[in-house]
């Protein structure tokens, strides 16, 4: 059949092509004004779905970047505080070392004790620091300050009240990263290595394994004294006030006019009628002492022994008699879960023996103990003080090492965080460019499309109007 156009079909044709071209123009116009290649997901379902996936990945990325930024802040804050702690501990160490060099007198040491206490209190403030309302060194237990004073059998100690957990952040898929280091790992790390004794009383570590934390005091009590010497020298007040324990030798040399306990030093005999004649305190080089009454002394040379009996205790209430023969006496303090094995064979005097469970004394207790010793409330000799300070020096160094280790851990984590952050930054750029490639309109292309659509529309309109004007009627006049 031959083509038989009609006016109606011509009209419909013109109308359709105008509508078509106009909608192309509107489409291009929408792309230009929104900058997006598609306005609705159905314009490009595949692209839209891919964009949505990429967006969700970019969102997750952003979450990690935000978490990392928060974590890095906290890490850096912690690192800077630990840097300060490092300095403070070095200072305390230098001060304590200075106190030991022999040229200091008791007053100097008291001043140094004050300085060390001050450092301790600064360090305590630092360990209890908060960043954005959060204790930095409390683990994940934010209910109270991590470090505060506690009392152990009358001795002031500092306890840790946080927990041993580390705050974690999600920095990828199921990749978690710890940001905080609990204070218990920095200032109060426990790495038990057994008990060590300062050596004041002669008590030493027994053969069995011990258990305990921090520095405890072994109370060694003098109970009674027995004097085995002829010649009329007697004990004062039946030995109350003596401190020697175990077997000691006593020799009186009237020719030299001296009296000697054990290996000395030799002391001059009190003169008759002097106040010390009836109560003469004889001490040896180790500070063991016995009180002698010369009132009934016959004046001859005498050699004999003086024997002290005593007991020891961890808690000051349950006492174990010192037999003097065992090298492994077990002492238990159930309240603090402490078990101490004592070699009692060397005990020669009473006193408060400082026992440090190596590897368990926290920095604050170590500093407090040094300050306490330097202050010398219990009247120790310079040598005894030195022994005490040296005993906790190891603990000071160990804690110092822990602070430095924590610093390097924080540093490494911070580095890792930064590298992750930069990785995510790269990934983000990559994702953004992928999203842009899918979503964003190519302006030069779209503008060209728009111009083309506009021109085509105009041509359609002009051709259409001509087409519709044509009619036989025009010639029928």
């Amino acid at each position: 059949m031959s083509i038989r156009p009609t006016q109606a079909s011509t009209f419909a044709l013109v109308q359709n092509s105008m509508l078509n071209n106009f909608s192309k123009l509107v489409d291009a116009q929408a792309q230009v004004s929104s900058g997006k290649r598609f306005q609705r997901a159905s314009d490009d379902p595949v692209g839209a779905a891919r964009a949505l996936v990429l967006h969700s990945r970019a969102d997750a990325n952003q979450r990690y970047v935000d978490a990392i930024a928060g974590g890095t802040r906290e890490l850096d804050m912690g690192a800077s505080l630990l840097q300060d702690a490092d300095g403070l501990i070095s200072e305390a160490r230098a001060t304590a070392l200075g106190a030991l060099n022999g040229t200091t007198n008791a007053d100097d040491r008291r001043v140094m004790a004050d300085q060390i206490r001050q450092i301790k209190s600064q360090l305590l403030d630092l360990a209890n620091s908060k960043a954005s309302g959060r204790f930095l060194f409390a683990g994940t237990d934010q209910s109270a300050s991590p470090f505060s004073a506690s009392d152990v059998h009358g001795f002031a100690r500092t306890g840790y009240f946080g927990n041993a957990d580390q705050q974690q952040l999600l920095v990828g898929g199921d990749q978690r990263m710890a940001v905080g280091i609990p204070g218990s790992d920095i200032f109060a790390a426990i790495d038990p290595r057994g008990a060590s004794f300062e050596g004041l009383t002669g008590a030493a570590s027994g053969t069995s394994t011990d258990q305990g934390t921090g520095a405890v005091t072994l109370f060694v009590r003098h109970d009674s004294t027995t004097l085995n010497i002829p010649g009329g020298v007697a004990l004062v007040n039946a030995g109350v006030g003596d401190n020697l324990i175990g077997n000691h030798t006593l020799s009186i040399d009237p020719v030299a006019g001296t009296v000697t306990l054990d290996s000395g030093p030799a002391r001059g005999l009190p003169s008759v009628g002097s106040s010390s004649y009836a109560d003469f305190e004889l001490t040896n080089a180790q500070g063991d002492s016995v009180h002698l009454d010369f009132s009934a002394w016959a004046g001859g040379a005498d050699n004999g022994s003086v024997v002290g009996a005593g007991s020891m205790s961890l808690d000051g209430s349950n006492w174990t008699a010192i037999g003097g023969a065992s090298n492994d006496v077990e002492l238990i303090d159930a309240a603090t879960n402490t078990v101490l094995h004592v070699d009692e064979t060397g005990i020669h005097r009473a006193g408060n023996e400082l026992v440090s469970f190596s590897g368990t004394v926290n920095i604050f207790d170590a500093l407090e103990s040094i300050a306490d010793t330097l202050e010398n409330g219990s009247g120790l000799t310079a040598k005894e003080q030195e022994a005490r300070v040296r005993l906790v020096f190891d603990e000071l160094d160990r804690n110092h090492d822990n602070v430095t280790a924590a610093l390097s851990t924080l540093g490494a984590r911070s580095e890792r965080m930064k590298s992750l952050e930069s990785d995510y930054g790269d990934l983000d750029t990559d994702l953004a460019s992928q999203i842009s490639r899918i979503e964003d309109a190519d302006y030069s292309q779209v503008v060209l499309d728009m111009m083309r659509a506009e021109q085509t529309l105009q041509i359609t309109q002009s051709v259409g109007s001509k087409l519709l004007q044509n009619s036989f009627l025009n010639f029928l006049r």
Partner: protein, 778 residues
């Protein structure tokens, strides 16, 4: 002759006039839709024999006929039906697309906001503002899900409204077609084709085809039978009406008046709307609901096994209501797995932690659930048997869990830091454990003989104390011993450790001692007669730390390798076995071990032993539950206990009401520490992990699938619409070529007719002239 000639002239005049009239009719209807151009069929008048000649008598108009291709007409209405169907679908799909549009306020955005709020909270878990923010974004997400469910329903309601309106139009068209049938019949019975009536009927059928799928059959007399979806709507003698019944929201059924079969209309606008209503929307709803349901479940699984930053909980009421399935007036006799809960409880274990709030001491308890056996009452009883915990059902059928005063509970998979509660591993109590685990093969008359602080005594076991005496469980044996008066008065107690019987002194210290002197049961328990056990002043007191990183739940049993002292005895080891008895670790606690220092067991779990004596001969042991999932039975999400969301689909999803009121209840903590964000991380980790219920997809990629599915369907519908519309236009133009009016053509024919008229007039003048001339001659 003249009258004949005049007559011939007159016929020519009349025919030309008729032609002009037909042309006039065509021209005036040139732009009438559905008009088929008409033409006058002209023939010669019958010839006459005059004077021996066969003489023509001129022209005559026979009939006015439409030019129509009825096959094309049918195809055109079918095509119109197709286009309308697609248009209706596109309009429904577009609404759905707008509803699910991504970007600001979109579901994807709200998912993003929710997870970002969790991520922010994880940096400072104790911050109350961040916690409120997290709860609020959860609420926003729920509202969006509600809006989506509502929006989908509205699309459905809209489609139903349109269907109802269009069915009304169908009924009008049926009536019109039937009327036209009658008119055509009566017109055509007179012999002339009813051109314009037929055009009108075709127009009506086309209109009808735009609404439904239509089949037409014309009978021999010209009456049209119209079938819609296989059922007669218009018959040659009458028509029927369609009737609609609907709930107004989700479904509609269309029947022929008086019929009882739902019409499966697939074509036209109604067919398109029905396909949106019946195929697309239910699919969309089920996709959205699956997303919501799985999201709720996964979030609730993690949330219910966490803790608020304030630590263990004192009392909780579930948000789901138990349903009385057998209508006997009580809900507690139903199976827990079939009690009308929004999520199913399955077979598995629920672990409950009870914390003494004053001392912080925690104990972990296992509540097993068997989907085929455990009733609600069994479950409540088992929970209530956990010390210091009680569970009941309130008046509204919700499960209530409450801890005794001074105690708290939680369901976290965290480790029990002091697992040896009964001190059966080198503890202070005099203690002896069974050499084997249950079942214990007791016989009638079996006894267990002891020498306790008050002297020798014997415990005789009775058959009624056991379900099966030959298969006695450790629990039954312990209960039997604990009920014995001598056993009690001698200060002894029986406990169990993971199916092993342990007999102990109730006090601790070196003064505590008893001897197993014999009895048939002692052989079953592997105890040599004369075995004496003594308490100690300090227990080994194992301490657990770390976080279990294994993928599956297990229970580890720790046993010493020999008798000895932790930290002293050379070569002393602690062997660790899993629940199948396979050794998983061996820990060196001999002379090189410093009591109190931590040893890694495995999978992130560490243990530290205190100084003390342990005994392999007395079967010292303790058990540690290591959990990846503390609610493998999904009981907590099912009962709605400590959940984040309530509901189980998009429409019912909501944040738990008391949580919304008090965001402090948000379970951010894994171990109960105030600044712990472990549970926030567990929630957060779900954002990028594959979800089992969503075919291993993440929430966001599943959402992409839903949104992308709508978009893809819409875009393909649009494309199909465009190509079908093009087809329709091309058919339309072909119809126009056949039946349309070309005005130019008509004008040309008008000139022809005009000239024919003039010629006939001239002819009549000549005939008239001849007649006059003849008269003049006469």
């Amino acid at each position: 002759m003249s009258s004949l000639a005049l007559n011939t002239g007159l016929k020519a005049l009349l025919t030309a006039q008729s032609k002009l009239e037909t042309i006039g009719h065509n021209v005036s209807n040139a732009s009438t839709a559905g008009y088929s151009r008409q033409s006058l069929e002209v023939g010669t008048s019958p010839t006459m024999r005059l004077h021996g000649l066969l003489q023509g008598t001129g022209v005559q108009a026979n009939v006015v006929r439409r030019t129509v291709d009825s096959l094309l007409q049918t195809r055109l209405s079918m095509q119109g039906s197709l286009v309308s169907r697609i248009d209706a679908r596109v309009s429904g799909l577009s609404q759905a697309e707008a509803l699910f549009a991504s970007g600001s306020g979109g579901l994807d955005q709200l998912f993003k906001n929710f997870f970002s709020s969790l991520s922010t909270l994880s940096t400072t878990p104790e911050d109350t503002h961040l916690r409120s923010n997290a709860v609020q974004s959860a609420a926003n997400l729920s509202s969006k899900f509600n809006a989506l469910a509502d929006g989908s329903l509205n699309i459905g309601a809209d489609a139903i409204g349109r269907i109802q309106a269009q069915v009304g139009v169908v009924n009008q068209l049926a009536e019109r077609i039937s009327r036209l049938n009658g008119q055509i019949l009566s017109t055509e019975s007179a012999g002339a084709p009813a051109n314009d009536l037929r055009d009108a009927r075709e127009r009506a059928v086309s209109e009808l085809a735009k609404l439904t799928d239509v089949k037409t059959v014309e009978d021999g007399r010209g009456a049209l039978r119209v079938l819609v979806a296989g059922q007669t709507l218009v018959s040659p003698v009458g028509f029927k009406q369609l009737e609609v019944t609907t709930d107004g929201r989700t479904d509609i059924s269309i029947r022929v008046e008086g019929g009882n079969v739902d019409m499966a209309i697939s074509g036209g606008e109604i067919g398109g709307l029905l396909s949106v209503l019946r195929d697309f929307l239910p699919g969309l709803k089920s996709d959205t609901d699956a997303l919501a349901r799985n999201f709720i479940l996964e979030m609730n699984r993690a949330h219910s096994t966490g803790m608020p930053s304030s630590g263990p909980m004192r009392a909780l009421v579930g948000s789901s209501r138990l349903v009385d399935q057998d209508s006997d007036g009580q809900v507690t006799d139903e199976l827990l797995s079939n009690s009308g809960l929004p999520f199913d409880a399955t077979s598995g274990d629920l672990f409950v932690n009870i914390t003494d709030l004053a001392s912080g001491a925690m104990t972990k308890h296992r509540v097993p659930i068997d989907a085929a056996r455990t009733t609600v009452q069994d479950f409540l009883t088992a929970l209530s048997r956990v010390p210091n915990l009680s569970a009941s059902v309130d008046g509204q059928g919700r499960v209530e869990v409450q801890a005794d005063s001074g105690f708290g509970f939680d369901f976290s998979p965290r480790l029990d830091v002091a697992p040896d509660d009964i001190a059966s591993f080198g503890g202070g109590r005099a203690s002896i454990a069974g050499g084997a685990s249950e079942p214990y093969a007791l016989a009638l008359g079996s006894t267990l003989d002891f020498n306790g602080p008050l002297g020798a005594f014997s415990v005789a076991f009775q058959p009624n104390q056991f379900q099966s005496m030959g298969q006695a469980t450790a629990e039954e044996l312990a209960a039997a011993l604990n009920s014995d008066a001598n056993f009690q008065s001698n200060g002894l107690i029986a406990n169990t450790v993971g199916g092993t019987l342990v007999v102990q002194s109730s006090g601790s210290g070196t003064s505590q001692s008893f001897t197993v002197t014999g009895g048939a049961a002692s052989a079953v328990l592997g105890w040599a007669p004369g075995t004496t056990v003594t308490g100690k002043s300090l227990g080994v007191n194992p301490k657990i730390s770390g976080t279990y990183s294994g993928a599956a739940n297990d229970a580890w049993t720790f046993r010493p390798s020999a008798d000895g002292t932790i930290g002293s005895t050379v070569g002393l080891k602690v062997d660790v076995f899993d629940q199948n008895g396979v050794q998983v670790a061996q820990l060196d606690v001999g002379a090189n071990y410093q009591p109190g220092s931590e040893i890694e067991v495995r999978d992130g779990v560490k243990v530290a032993f205190g100084l003390g004596d342990v005994s392999a001969a007395h079967n010292d042991l303790f058990r540690l539950d290591v959990l990846a999932d503390s609610d493998t039975a999904d009981v907590l999400p099912a009962l709605g206990i400590n959940t984040l969301f309530v509901g189980n689909d998009a429409a019912s999803m909501e944040v738990r009401a008391d949580l919304l009121e008090n965001p402090e209840l948000f379970a951010s903590s894994f171990n109960g520490a105030s600044g712990d964000g472990g549970n926030v991380l567990r929630l957060l980790q779900k954002s990028e992990s594959g979800i089992e219920g969503l075919a291993g997809l993440t929430f966001e990629s599943n959402l992409t699938g839903v949104v992308g599915g709508v978009a893809l369907e819409l875009s393909s519908a649009r494309e199909a619409g465009e190509s079908e519309e093009f087809m329709r236009q091309s058919l339309e133009s072909r119809r126009d070529q056949v039946s349309g009016v070309n005005v130019d053509e008509e004008l040309a024919r008008m000139i022809e007719a005009q000239q024919a008229y003039s010629a006939a007039g001239e002819y009549m003048r000549v005939v008239n002239q001849l007649s006059s001339d003849l008269f003049n001659i006469l």
